[in-house]
Symmetry: D3
Subunit: 336 residues, 6 copies
C-alpha cells in the first residue's frame, strides 16, 4: 500500500503507512480511561490522531516528537476537522527490531520541506551574491553564507505562519533576493549592492531563533531577544572579523536588517530610513503574505468561493480565481 499524502486523505480513508510524530500528549477520556492524542505529519501536512485506550493497551509506546512511526487506522472527522483513529502504532525502530519489513518506509516522505530543490536554491542564491554584489559587501555576504550554510539549508522561515518547514528560510530568502534583483531594474537609483546584501541577510537571525527544523520551535534566545537583533549581531560580528573597510556602508546594511519589519509595532526597533531598507521591507512582507495566501488556499478543502478567515491576514480569501493550468505549473519554480 503506497504512502497516501496527508493532504490527500479524506474522511473514511483507511491508512497503513508511516508518519512523523510532531506532538504527543497523554489524556483520559470521559470514562476516565487513558488515551493518546498525537499530531502526525508527512511532507504534505499534519493530521490529528487518537490512540484510544484499548489500542493503547496493545501499543503503549512511548511516542515522542520526532519519532517515525508505522500506523494503521481510519480517517474520521471531529468538529469539522479530519482525525485519524489509530488501530495500531509502533515506532520504525521497534518495528525494525521486531524484524518487520520496512520496505515501504521512506523517511523523505515524512518531513515537510520546501517544494524546491534546496541545493539548487542554495547555488542560485550563492551565485546571485557572487555575480551581482560588488566587494566589500560581496565578501561579507559570502562569508556569512559560508559560515551558516548548514543552518541556512534547513531552517524554516517561521514556526507557524509562512514557510514553516525544512528549507523555508532558504526558499523565502531566495524569493526576496530574486525579487530585489528584478526590482532594481525598475529602480536603478538604489544602491544595488546594499539592497541585495540586505535581501539575502535580512532574516539570517532565524537560524538562531528557530530550532529543530522538522518540528520547529523557538529557542530561548529567540524568545528573549528575537531574530531581528540576532541577525544584526551575526552581521556585525562577521564585519568585525573581516575588518569591513566601509563603516558607513556597513551601518546601512545593519539598518536594513534591523528595520526590515517596517515599523516599531511589528518589532523593528527603527523604521526604514533609506530606500534600500524600504525595498527589502516591502519585498519581505510581500513574499510572506503571498505564501500565507497560498498555504491558506491550499489547505482549504471546503465548499464555497471564499476560504475561512485567516487569523493573521484578518480576512477570508477568494478561491474562485484559481484557474488550474492557466499560468503553467501549479508551483512556481526557481529560474535556472
Amino acid at each position: 500500500m503506497p504512502h497516501q499524502p496527508i493532504a490527500s486523505l479524506a474522511e473514511g480513508a483507511v491508512v497503513q503507512q508511516y508518519f512523523l510524530v510532531r506532538a504527543a500528549e497523554s489524556r483520559t477520556d470521559k470514562s476516565g480511561k487513558p488515551y493518546l492524542s498525537l499530531v502526525l505529519g508527512d511532507n504534505s501536512g499534519q493530521l490529528v490522531a487518537r490512540v484510544w485506550s484499548d489500542v493503547l493497551a496493545r501499543c503503549p509506546g512511548p511516542f515522542v516528537p520526532g519519532d517515525h512511526v508505522g500506523v494503521q487506522g481510519q480517517v474520521g472527522s471531529y468538529r469539522g476537522e479530519l482525525q485519524l483513529t489509530v488501530r495500531y502504532i509502533n515506532t520504525v525502530d521497534a518495528l525494525r527490531d521486531m524484524g518487520k519489513s520496512l520496505e515501504a518506509y521512506d523517511p523523505d516522505l515524512l518531513v515537510q520541506a520546501t517544494p524546491y530543490d534546496r541545493q539548487e536554491l542554495w547555488q542560485d542564491l550563492w551565485q546571485l551574491a557572487e555575480t551581482e554584489i560588488a566587494p566589500p559587501l560581496k565578501d561579507l555576504v559570502l562569508h556569512l553564507l559560508t559560515q551558516h550554510r548548514d543552518a541556512f539549508l534547513v531552517t524554516p522561515a517561521a514556526r507557524l505562519y509562512h514557510h514553516p518547514y525544512l528549507g523555508g528560510l532558504l526558499e523565502h530568502t531566495w524569493f526576496v533576493a530574486r525579487h530585489t534583483l528584478a526590482s532594481l531594474n525598475i529602480y536603478p537609483d538604489l544602491n544595488r549592492d546594499l539592497a541585495l546584501a540586505g535581501a539575502i541577510l535580512h532574516d539570517l537571525g532565524k537560524i538562531i531563533e528557530i530550532a529543530n527544523p522538522p518540528a520547529p520551535e523557538l529557542t530561548v534566545s529567540g524568545q528573549l531577544l528575537g531574530h531581528i537583533v540576532l541577525g544584526w549581531d551575526l552581521v556585525r560580528q562577521a564585519a568585525q572579523t573581516l575588518e569591513f573597510p566601509d563603516p558607513t556602508l556597513l551601518l546601512q546594511l545593519e539598518h536594513i536588517v534591523l528595520s526590515h519589519h517596517g515599523s516599531l509595532e511589528f518589532g523593528s526597533p527603527i523604521p526604514p530610513k533609506t530606500k534600500e531598507a524600504l525595498l527589502v521591507n516591502f519585498l519581505d512582507d510581500l513574499d510572506a503574505k503571498l505564501k500565507m495566501m497560498s498555504q491558506h488556499l491550499e489547505s482549504d478543502a471546503g465548499p464555497g468561493e471564499f476560504t475561512s478567515y485567516h487569523r493573521v491576514l484578518q480576512r477570508g480569501l477568494y478561491k474562485g480565481g484559481l484557474v488550474s493550468g492557466q499560468n503553467g505549473a501549479t508551483e512556481p519554480e526557481p529560474e535556472k
Copy 2:
C-alpha cells in the same frame, strides 16, 4: 540672463526671469499697507515671493494662479525658507502687449512635470498592455487608455505627497506596471492578465479626483467620493459598454481597484483578498513611498546626514547613502 531653476536658487541670488503663479493672496503688512504674497513655480520647484506695497503700487497686477509672469527681484530667506523679494512683476500677456521682447520666455520651463518623456511613457505603457495582457482584459485596458488618454497624460499622481506634477499619474502607473511585470517572473502562479490590468488601472480615478494639473486641486467629486470608487466606476462602465464576457474575471479586476490601498483605514472599502490585489497594493505603496523619499531627499538642502522629519513617512531620512554616479544616471529612465 538664462532661466535659473528654482531648485538651484540660493540666498542672495538676483533673478530676472519668468515664473508660473501657483497661488496669490493679498495681505497687509504691520503698518497696514497692502502687499501681495505669491507662490511662484517653475519646472524645478516652488518659491514664496512678496510684492511689498511700494512695488505693488507700480505693479498692481492682478495676478492669478496659472498666470505666467516676468519677475525681477532678489532671493532672501524668512524663518529658514527662501523667499523672493519682488522688485518688478507683470504678466507675460501684459509684457507682450507692451511690446517687450519675450525672447527668454519658454513656457516649458515653468510647469513642473515628470522628468520622463510623457509620450515615451505612454507608448511604453500602451505596448505593455497590448503585448503582455491577453483578451478580454487587454481589450478593456486599451479601451480605457484610449478613452482617457488626454487626462492620463497630464494628471498628477497626487496633489501634494508624491508625483504632484504634470504626468505624475502616468509616471507612477508606468513604474507600478513595469514592476508588476518584473514581479510576475518571480511569482508566475499569479494571474498575469489580471495583475497587469490592475496595475495599469488602479489609480485611474485620479483623472476625476484631481483637476488643473499645472496647479493641482481636488475636485468636488474627488473630495465627496474619492479616486478609489471613481476609478472603479470607470472600469465598471467601460466593461458594460464592451459587454465584457467574463463576469468573474471582471469582479476580480474591480476588486484590485477597490482594494489597492490595502486596508480599510487607508481608504479601501475592502482589503485585498486575492494575490493579484495584494501585489498591486504593495507595488503601488512602494512606488509612492520611494518617490516621497526621493522628493524629500532632493528638497533637503540643509547640513547634516539626515533630512528633516517627513510628515507622511513619520521619520527623517538618511542622506549619507547617496553616492553620486555610483549607479549610473541620477534619475531613473524608462527602459527602451
Copy 3:
C-alpha cells in the same frame, strides 16, 4: 402537538415538529461512526441538532440547507448550549411522498423574519418617500424602490449581527428613515430631501451583498466589493437612467451612501463631510446597535443582571432595566 418555538425550548423538552435546515455537516464520532451535525431553525431562533449513527442509519437523508424537515427528538445541552438529539428526521417532501399527514406543517413558522408586517413597512416607507421628499430626489428614490422592490422586501440587514432575517433590511431602513424624519424637526437647517433620500437608500447595496434571505450568505461581489460601493453604483446608474437634473445634489446623495459607515476604518472610503451624511451615519449606527442590544438581551436566558459579553459591542448588557409592560407592547410597532 403544536409547534414549540425554538426560543421557548428548555432542556429535557420532547419535540415532534417541523424545522428549517440552516446548515448540515457530516462528521464521525469518537468511535469512528458517522453522524450528522445540523443547525435547525424556525421563526424564533436556531438550534444545534445531532443525528447519531444509529438514527442516521434509519434516516439517511440527505438533508441540505433550505430543506423543511419533520423531526422527533429530545433537547439536551452540550457545553452550556442547548442541543437536540434527533430520534427521527425526514424532509417534508419525503413525508408527503410517503403519504404522511402534514396537518401541523406551517412553512410560515419556520423562517425567521422581521416581527413587523412587511407590506405595511413597505407602504409606509413608500409613502414617506412620496410625501416627504421633493423632486428630483423623490423620483430617484421611488424609481429605485420600484426597481428593487422584491429584493428589498426579503433581504436581511446583515448576515449575523443585526436584523439577520427576512425583511431585516426593510425593517432597519424603515427605522432609520422614520428617525431621520423625526430628527429633521429638531435640525431644520439640514436639507430635508437629501437626508431622507440618503436614509432610505444608504444600505441598498445589501440586496446585492446578501443572498438567500432565509439562510443569509454573502455573495461573491458582496465579499469582493462590499455593499457600500454596490449601493452607490445602484444609485449612480439609476440617476443616469433618469437623467437626474441636479449633479451637485446627486453628488451629495452619493456621498451619503458612501460615507454612511462614518469613518475609513469602518469601511467607508470617505468620512461624512455634510450634515446630512453625518445624520444618516449616526442614525444608521444607532439603529444597528439598539437592535444588537435587543437581540442580545432577548437571547440571554441565563441568571444574573448582566448578559454575557457581546463580541461586537464589546461589553455585557444590563438586564435589570427591563420592566415588563412599562412602555406598553414588548415589541415596537410601526406608526400607522
Copy 4:
C-alpha cells in the same frame, strides 16, 4: 457709526466701536519696542488686534480680559487672518470718566451667546421635564434644574469646540432633550423617563468644569476631575437629599451620566450598557458634531467648495450644499 459685527468685517474696514477684551498680552516688536497683542470679541466672533508702540504710548491701558473697550482702527491681515491695527483704545469706564458720550455702547452686543432666547429654552426644557417625565425621576430632574438654574443659564457647552458661549450648555441640552423625545417615538421600548432624565442631566457637570462664561476657562476641579464625574456627583448627592426611592432606577440614571461619552478612550469610565445610555450617548455626540460643522461652515469666508481642515472632525466640510432659504430660516428655532 453703528456696531459692525466682527463676523462681517473685511480687510480694509475702518472701525470705531466697542469690543470685549478676551485676552491681552504685552510683547515687543523686532526693534525692541513694546506693543500690545489683544483678542477682541463681540457677539459674532473674535479678532486679533495690535496696539503698536506709538499708539500704546497714548493709550497705555491697562487692558485685561473682560474689559469693555472703545476702539478706533483699521482691519488688515497677517498670515492669512484678519488683524485690527488699533489707532485708539480705552476702556468704557475710562471713557465714561472722561465724560465721553457712550451713546453707541451696547454691552449686549459684545458677549457671544446662544442665538436662542435663553428664557424660552429654559422654560421649554423645564416644561419638557415636568410633562414628559414621571416621578420619581421628574422630582430629581426638577430639583437639580432648580438648584443649578443660574449656572445652567449661562455656562457654555464647551470651552472651545462647540457652543463655546453664554447659554451654550442650555442650548445643547435643549437639543439633546428634544431629540431624545422625538427618538422615543421611534423606539418606544426604551424607558422614557430614564432617557429623558439622562438627556437633560448628562452634561450637568459642565457648570462646575467651566467658569467665567463670557470668556470660558476650565476650573481646577474641571481639570483634575472632569465634568463627567462631577455631574454624576451632583446627581448622586441630589438623590441622597431627596431620598430617591428607587435605587435601581437611580443606578441606571447615574450610568447614563457616566457613560455618555460612549467609550473609555473618550473619557467615560464605563461604556453604555443600556439602550437609554446608548441613545443619550449618540444624540449628545451628534448634536456636538452638527454644531461643530455649523460653526466651521459659518466661520469659513474663503473661496472654494470645501472648508479648511477641521482639527477635531479631522476633515474639511462641503460648503456647496448650503442653499440659502431652501429650508426656511438660516438658524434653527426652538419649537413653540
Copy 5:
C-alpha cells in the same frame, strides 16, 4: 486521607476530601443523559469536575456555588486540562445530618486567600498611615480604613486577573503603599502625605465593585459605575463628613483616585496630572502585573522554558529564571 491541594493534583490521583463549589451547571451528555459540570476550589486553586449521570442518580444534590462538599473521585484530563471524575459527592451539611464523621473537614483549606496574615497586613497598613501621613490626610485615611475595615479585610483585588482571592485588595494595597513609601525616599520632592494617602485609597472602590469574596462576582453598581468612581465617591463623602479643611489638597487626592488607571483607554476619566498621581498609577500597575506574572508562572506546570500565552499581558513568560531558594523564601513576606 489528608487534604491534597488542588495545585498538587496530577492525572491519575484518587481523591477523597472536601472542596468549595465555585460554579455548578446541569448538562446532558451525547446520549441525552443529564450530568453535572462543577468547578471545585480549595485554597490552592480550581478544578473542573464532572458528575456523570450514573453517579448523579445517587448524588442528586443540589449543589450551588458556596457549598462545601465531600467528594470521592479520580483525576483525569480533557483537552489538556485536568478534570475530576466524581464517584461520590454530598454537601458537608448533608453529611453532618447523616451523622458522618467530618474529622478531616477544615473549612480554612477550602477558600483561596492571600498567603499573608491578613491581620498583620492590616495592622502594618494602619501603622503606615498613622505614622507616615500627617493630618489632615491622616485623619481622612484612618477614618476610611476604620469605616470599611471589614470589607477591606476580605475583598479580592480583582475578580479574575490578579489577587482574585480573599484579602487580595488588602495584599495589593499593602504592596502599593509600602512601595510608595520606598519610592518617596528616591523622589523626596513629591508630596509625601498625598502619595501615601493615594496609594492606600486608590482601589477602595473595589469593596463596592466586588461582592462575595470566596467566589468573587461584580455587583450591579460595579458594572454600571466601576470601582474608580465608586472609590472616589467614598473619599469625597468621608471628606464631607470630616469637614476636610484643605479643599485643594482634597482635590489632589481625589485626582489620584480617579486617574490611577493612567489613561482614558484604561478607564480613568482623567490622566495623572501630578507627580503623586503618576507614582501611584505606576506602582499600582506594576504590582498588578508582577502578580499576574507570579500567578501565571505558578500555574504553569507544563514542560518548556516559557509559559503559555498570557491573555492580558499578551506574551508568554520565561520560566528559566526561577532559581529556587536563591532569593530566600519562595513567597515574599511583609516586613515586620
Copy 6:
C-alpha cells in the same frame, strides 16, 4: 555685572554677559537685509537671539554651535516667547585676542548639566554595583562602567525630552538603580543581581546614540540603529570579552536591555518576559516621566494653575500642588 541665569531673565532685561552658542542660522529680514538667528544657552536654559543687520555689520562673526560668546543686548518678546536683541557679540577667543578682560567669564556657568555632583553620583552608582550585585554580574557591570566611564559622565539621557544635559544619563541611571534597590525590598522574589545590573545598564547605548553633550545631537548609528540595540551590543561584547560564565543569566540581562521600553510600539523589539525586565521597564519610564513633569513645571512661568500642554505627556500639569519648602529642599539630593 554678574551672570544673570537665562531662566531668570524677564522682558526688558539688559544683558552684558557670556553665553554658549547652541545653534546659529543666517537669514534675511523682510527688507532683504541679512541677520543672524541664534540659540544661546547657559546652565539654566536657552534663549533665542537676533543679530539684526546693522549689528551684524559690526559683529560679523562667524558664530558656530559650541562657541562661547560675550553678548550685550536687551530682552524683548516675539510671539509670546522671550527673545534677545543683540547689540554686540563676539567670541570669547576673539575677545581674549583683543586683550579684553574676561574676568566675569566662567565657562561652568554656560553649559547645562545635572544639578547633582557628577563625581558623587558616579561613585555612588559604582558602590551600588560593587556592594549589591554578586558575581558574575558584578564583574560585567563594573567592567562596562570602567570601560565607558568618560562617556557615562557627560552623556545626556535624551536629546530633548528628559535630562537633556551634561550628566543626564548618569543622573537618570542613578535614580533608576537606586529605585530598583528600594523596590527589591518590596519584591524580594526577584533576582536581585539581574534587576540591579539591568537598571544600571539599560540605557548604556545612549553613549553611542547621543554625541556632543553640551549641545546634544543624534549620531548616525544612533539614528540608523537606536540606543536599545547599541546598548545590547555593548553588553554582549563585554560578556564575550570576559567569557561570562552563565549564558542563561546573560540572556536574561540582555533581555532586560532590549525590552526596557516595555512594548514594540515604543521601540523594544521584544516585551518584558521576566519580572526583572518588567521592573526596570517601569522604573525607567517612571523616572523619565517624573523628570519631564519637573522640567515642564519649572519652565512654566505663566499664570494659572495648570501648565501649557506637554506634547509628549499629552496633558497639562497641575501647578497648584507645589508647596515651596513643604518637603525640604526644592531639588532632590542623592543619598549619602
